[in-house]
Symmetry: C3
């Protein structure tokens, strides 16, 4: 349990009383009660208010707010306020200001605006965190710490350049090793002195939002920036832990956010929290995958849904309203996938600046007689009903899907074979097929213990880190099923090609050699032609994007290309390796192929769907203490019927017992309690 002071699914969100007056605070408390809100995230952007200059701190407003909330039964998720530095600090200590990827020194503005290697920022952010922890360590409302906010963005200033050189010295030890790792003999880039190394931005090696001349330095700079921002987090974390060793600490992550390696970050979070902002046209399964990833970065531990909008966003091009029922449905989707909190940005809508058209529990009209408030209050009541039953329950998946930020950076920095390769999309294709099959999967990192899984899928495993190939071999040898794809096994952790034939370190495991890699134009297709009917698969499917031209070196060829000069050459292979099997998918298949393919693999491993449900109905399961909570989520606007099997189960929202077939209204939700076994 995140904090047993509040043993239920926390319900609340970001709250900024400093933007309002006393009359409004009273009204807030009245409405929080109506809505069943029991947690408020405070102090996210209050640095300038709390600290008006270098030496002055004024916590009186925060003191009063925490007391007032607590008196009305609202607990606090307390932010450290370091997500945006004060204007005075930017004015007096310009080292806090970033230099952007274009090489421009910024002036004061925005948020998430501090240079992570700024001495001023590091000094004052850690000091503020310490002061807050010291002051509120015994406050009864304090549930959890929320360090900074949505860390992100890179800096390219001189402080960063200097620290980058230090980081490189630690990583490589010598310039000789660095020159080798970056292959600096290419284009005559040999460095003879650390001072010659400058950050890779649009003034040096990069252009076009992430294209680069030198993958080595660009990849390392991403590692370094993720590390630098994490260092800022850790400095605050340490200050906090000095005073409140037992209060959990988090910072709100952003799902598949590109710039930070969240597997690395999660090691230093007591609990993962994240902000979920799908658009109207985001695939449901992509949101699901992102929840699973946020659960996966900390080995399956339940997480916090820190932010979502009750109604609409403001920063999308077209900010649709969430249709009636959708807020509730998507809230349960989070819970179904591991969230133990349901929290909003924001509890009350601001009246000025760029987020005033972002939805809130309390709208500008200010009263409770709105669709949005009613939906929030209904959900609040339901969550109270659920009490602590689901808290800490786990998802137990037998399929693991590898996701790796460094691999993603490397694939996306690659010059060639195609700009159309998008790592998240390729991973999502495999995830989506399992989602449609109602088969549970975990999103896992490369450090995960694979033996927990029957099947491990690693789409576009371009970068193979030290030891990982051996680990996969052991997994397969012991009976596991491994799946990987085109453009895998190509480079090591420095983005240097593994010589001797693709897929490099994975070659013997897969029993193939990829001689060439063709990149297809956006409208070009090829075909996957099954050599013979195989389970759910038969005949011909489409593939696109890239086509590896492979040779079998022992692998069985399951399907061949249907056209072009490599017609008849293998496109799908499987290799028996020890007690297990390793599949290679040499191109990017269409959805129907992948569903059939993964259905076959699940059949081979005896992995069953959680339920038989029509398309658009999401099914997940959390288990705890021998009980299983089956979530049925109908994303369709129409009623759907789901077959849940013969065991009697309890509908936790109505208390009724159900069995066999259940009927879900459009956008309806059921949570059915039964036995795990």
């Amino acid at each position: 349990m995140i904090n047993n002071k509040l043993p239920k699914i926390w319900y609340g969100g970001d709250y900024n009383p400093e933007q309002w007056d006393a009359e409004t605070w009273q009204e807030d408390n009245r409405m929080f009660k109506l809505a069943g809100i029991d947690v408020a995230t405070l102090n996210v952007f209050s640095w300038a208010m709390i600290q008006p200059d270098e030496e002055t701190y004024d916590f009186s407003f925060l003191d009063a707010t925490m007391d007032r909330l607590y008196q009305d039964g609202v607990y606090v998720c307390l932010a450290t306020a370091t997500g945006a530095h004060p204007a005075w600090m930017a004015n007096r200590h310009p080292d806090v200001l970033r230099v952007d990827v274009q090489g421009r020194k910024r002036t004061f503005g925005g948020r998430h605006n501090s240079c992570p290697n700024s001495p001023t920022y590091r000094k004052y952010s850690a000091r503020l965190a310490g002061k807050l922890a010291e002051r509120y360590k015994d406050h009864p409302s304090l549930l959890i710490w929320h360090i900074s906010n949505e860390y992100g963005g890179y800096c390219y200033c001189e402080h960063c350049a200097a620290e980058f050189r230090v980081w490189l010295q630690e990583r490589y030890g010598s310039l000789e090793k660095l020159n080798k790792a970056w292959n600096t003999r290419f284009w005559g880039h040999t460095f003879y002195s650390w001072e010659e190394i400058v950050p890779p931005n649009e003034l040096s090696e990069e252009w076009g939002g992430g294209r680069t001349n030198f993958q080595g330095i660009s990849l390392d700079y991403r590692r370094f920036m993720s590390h630098s921002l994490l260092e800022c987090y850790k400095l605050e974390y340490e200050e906090i832990k000095k005073h409140t060793p037992n209060i959990p600490v988090t910072t709100n992550l952003m799902g598949t956010y590109q710039e930070l390696d969240y597997f690395e970050w999660a090691k230093y979070l007591d609990v993962v929290s994240w902000d979920n902002y799908p658009s109207l046209d985001t695939p449901i399964s992509l949101t699901a995958m992102t929840h699973d990833l946020m659960r996966g970065v900390k080995n399956g531990q339940p997480f916090m849904l820190m932010e979502q909008t009750p109604s609409q966003q403001n920063w999308q091009p077209y900010n649709s309203l969430k249709r009636p029922g959708v807020m509730r449905l998507w809230s349960y989707q989070a819970v179904a996938r591991g969230a133990d909190t349901v929290m909003f940005f924001q509890l009350r809508r601001s009246i000025g600046a760029c987020e005033k058209y972002h939805g809130a529990v309390i709208e500008h009209v200010g009263h409770e007689h709105t669709r949005v408030f009613r939906e929030c209050a209904e959900l609040g009541a339901e969550l109270s009903l659920l009490s602590d039953s689901i808290l800490d329950a786990r998802i137990k998946a037998k399929v693991g899907i590898i996701f790796d930020w460094e691999n993603r950076w490397a694939t996306e920095l690659s010059s060639g074979p195609t700009i159309a390769l998008n790592y998240v999309d390729e991973v999502h294709k495999y995830y989506d097929a399992l989602f449609e099959l109602n088969v549970e999967s975990d999103m896992i990192g490369v450090e995960e213990d694979l033996s927990n899984y029957d099947i491990v899928i690693a789409p576009v495993l371009y970068m193979v880190k030290p030891g990982f190939a051996k680990k996969v071999e052991a997994f397969v040898a012991a009976g596991g099923t491994f799946v990987t794809t085109f453009f895998s096994g190509i480079v090591n952790e420095s983005d240097l090609v593994t010589l001797g034939g693709y897929p490099g370190e994975l070659r013997s495991l897969l029993g193939i050699w990829a001689e060439e890699i063709d990149a297809l134009f956006p409208n070009q297709k090829n075909e996957i032609v099954l050599k013979q009917s195989w389970g759910a698969l038969d005949g011909t499917y489409e593939c696109s994007l890239m086509c590896d031209l492979i040779h079998s070196e022992g692998a069985e060829v399951l399907a061949e290309y249907g056209s072009d000069f490599y017609q008849g050459r293998p496109v799908i292979t499987v290799n028996q390796f020890g007690a297990g099997r390793a599949y290679y998918i040499a191109s990017s298949p269409d959805a129907s192929f992948l569903q059939g393919f993964l259905s076959n693999l699940c059949d081979e491993k005896g992995i069953k769907p959680l339920a038989k449900a029509p398309s658009g109905v999401e099914v997940t399961r959390r288990v705890k203490d021998g009980l299983a909570y089956l979530f049925l989520l109908n994303h369709n606007a129409e009623t759907a019927v789901v077959e849940i099997g013969d065991e009697q189960k309890k509908d936790m929202l109505t208390g009724e017992m159900v069995t066999g077939s259940v009927s879900l209204a459009g956008r309806g939700v059921m949570i059915l309690e039964g036995n795990e076994a």
Copy 2:
């Protein structure tokens, strides 16, 4: 009359003899005579020629030119030459150079290139204007002053930053008030010292050509920049008026140009002038609306058409020739809507730099035997014929359409609900419907006396300035008809939301509450379903862009949404308020709805079309001294028949008397003189 030295529609344009030799000047004068040209705009870009260094001024060339023109009957619109600073000034006084929105200090180049808060620019521009006024105050050719040229562009330099802080101190008095107006508690932006405030550009709060984190500062910077440029104008104006208090002064505006609040500017212009550059695919009614706006910024006073091209432009992507007759037709369109001059850029085509492929009365071939020259000469002869008959005649419209630059800035700076909202387009939709109905309208500012109108339309009245809601209430209570739309009544002049329910200050007048605002994707539509047939309206129409979800609070519901979860909720309402009616249009309707809707409103108010004319025929009317001049403009390539009623009217271009039906050739024009009553 602008200046009664030349009591006719002035005909001429920009003339740059400094680019030519003496032989050419003689030829110019000969051809001006052939073309009926009687006014030349001189000295627009001559600063570098007139003032070769800080202390030297040489007016000899200008002296000679003005004398020579006058001898041949050509009057002068005399520019102050401050639209582009000399290269020596940029080199020796870099403070004249702007810093752009990306934070880059510019070097010498272009035009409209001076920092408006540069001490050097202010000193030398005002001094030059004064010297010109002193020298030419008694020159018989001098008709009008033309200060600078097409003011525009913003600067973000340190001088501007410093002056911005001064301007803010004057506007807000205290940082406390500024912090409140900008809602700086949001994202911890509280300012403790004026020095902490920096201009909002791509280094601080803005990105993407007008997106911003902080609407308050961005809105104020637009006000400040419009003000700063106007200050430059006013400094020159004052210098000029010291010497020539009775010679009118103008600067050429640019229609719906985004960056300057022309209602504010027009207060300091003796007469409005503007440059009309439609493209081949600009809707005719948008050009018409822009003329009306240029008339409207100075309360209906006739204006100058300062620039148009005789044939083609150079800066469009594809610079089509004006088809035969189109230059004449569009010239009369300007006159029909209030212009008392017809002037070109340019009288003779330059041979070098970026405007050499911009059309001119005298083309590169240099003689009069061109299509373009012939059309110019024919028009010159016609304008002479018209003499002073139309000068000073007014348009008398009973419909006013509100246009407000600050509201426009605020809507376009808004983060959410949709990037697709374009203020000018929404205004134009209403204007266009009246245009198609041949009903006259005025484009008016929020300071206008509304009692002059029967109907006032305020599309997307997002920002309601102090006192304006009361003014509209008084107008409606007294019997007026008011129309406004979705996303109205939302904020005050600081872009802070009016709490208590949209549309804020307009809520009781309109008798509705807008609970939510949905933003539609580009291809999404909804429908307006009439509850019962109403005049020209019946059945179902399309709407798009944004949909307010409104409740009637007393208003009659005329139509409902046809689909989505808000199907059946009101989309068109009317509220009886005192003796008048207030309409609310909760989405952006298609053209057929708006024509029917405004036709109904005109019928209610007894407002009649000027004539019965087929589509593509524009009809306007100017009145003076009891006489009315009816303009019929056939924008079609084919002949059109227009019914003008039974009164006999005189065709002013042929002298013939006409009545009943008249036939206009393709691209033909008629000006029919009759009685006003």
Copy 3:
């Protein structure tokens, strides 16, 4: 012969052993032998390796490499390594770093990164070239010098600004002349001191990647930059020639690369070399045209194909594999058009940085059992077979097509009439028509002797340089046929319009006057209506882009416009001038018109196609010593039959004698030796 040490078509390419170890070098030599490789380009990016600081040079690696290669029969194309400066140089001498078009000082990174006017760069690059020449002047492997690499890119730093002013002083002599040439009276840009002139970039006159306010300065800056980079080349050239006066020197050009005037450059190259990188969708005839241009910049002298990829590129968006046979086919296309070498980038694929997914003879797998290697080895064997037979053979064309970089810059810098005008595309339309007709043409500069040709075509001859109009008149008067198009004869070399009527200096030759120029929207078309059937032409064809509205002043009108207000006015004219004829094409015709038109002109001049071949089969001919080598290149995937006439010819790749009809397999090649006459 480029160098008679190796009297055959050189076969090899870029080789970077400094990226590899000794074991790999041995393997390289083994595989070079297998592939028939006899030339390696060394040292292209080795500056940092060879010179680790200001005073130290270390040639030991290069010594060893050259010796080792020579021992195994591989000759060396020796690069001077100045295409990328060392990091230490950028760090210690920042003047080597460029300022980009946005005004940003760059930091270390990329390649082709040195300011061409940097004193440091000029000093050290020339010194390095001299040292290399001194050291290797007698090395038996040395075939040719390769200075720097793919010169390109502009700089806008203070050093460039200062040198630009010097260059301008030399060009113009006085500011008065410069002001006149740039027409600085426009927009008040008069310069009173040389120091006032700043480079034209995005901080001054330019924007949008090549749009400008002032054509004069922008055009001169392009001249100056092309000159500055050429000066760098020449400094190295002179140092080299001191030591090796008899070894040829080149630098690798890039076909139609926009930024450098290759006609000017070619004067200082002993032999032209270039890098050919067509994409999958590049028209075959555009590649052919580019080869011809590379032959043409040095008056028809055979050139080197310095680089092409054996399989795929890395920097295209979608890097398709070259289909089987295509590498061979395109290699012969180069030879067919004048190449005496076939060379690759690269011999072995690098393992790190941005070109690791660029194809190579030796792929990452490292052995010879790949499709790519096999195709390379087969071609190597064929080229050995051909021995020296084709070397130095010339193309003898009777049609010359004018290509002029300064004219291209001027047309593309033009503001108006249309942004859609692309000089290379317009030239290519005419080239392509002849290509389809199997008629040989030369791409020639304006300095070429026109009397070598029967027909000279000058598409969009916008800029007419001093003396060129007289030269064309003399050519036509003597019986030649001249063709030019819309937007020709407009300006002089300073981009100042020639007054008195378009097409200016060409007007009497063409017997027409172009009164106006219409620019069409992208989807707009007009028609070319033949007044009567003419040879291969009859009826109606499409035209687009721009339409000159011309009057005949003596020319015969062959076709008229089919629509718009200029329907019935001339679009195709021919003027008898002395013994010859001058054609004017007033718009941009479709391909079918141009094929018919040029077919007619060839018929008039008795120019015959080389063979009768179906579409997709390219036919060229090189002649030497009374023998002719007819190349047949089948770009189709299917077999094609070509009629080659009755003379018996020898198939040089098979030794067989053929006559009449020959059959070429898909992507097949024949080189048929016969008599020239």
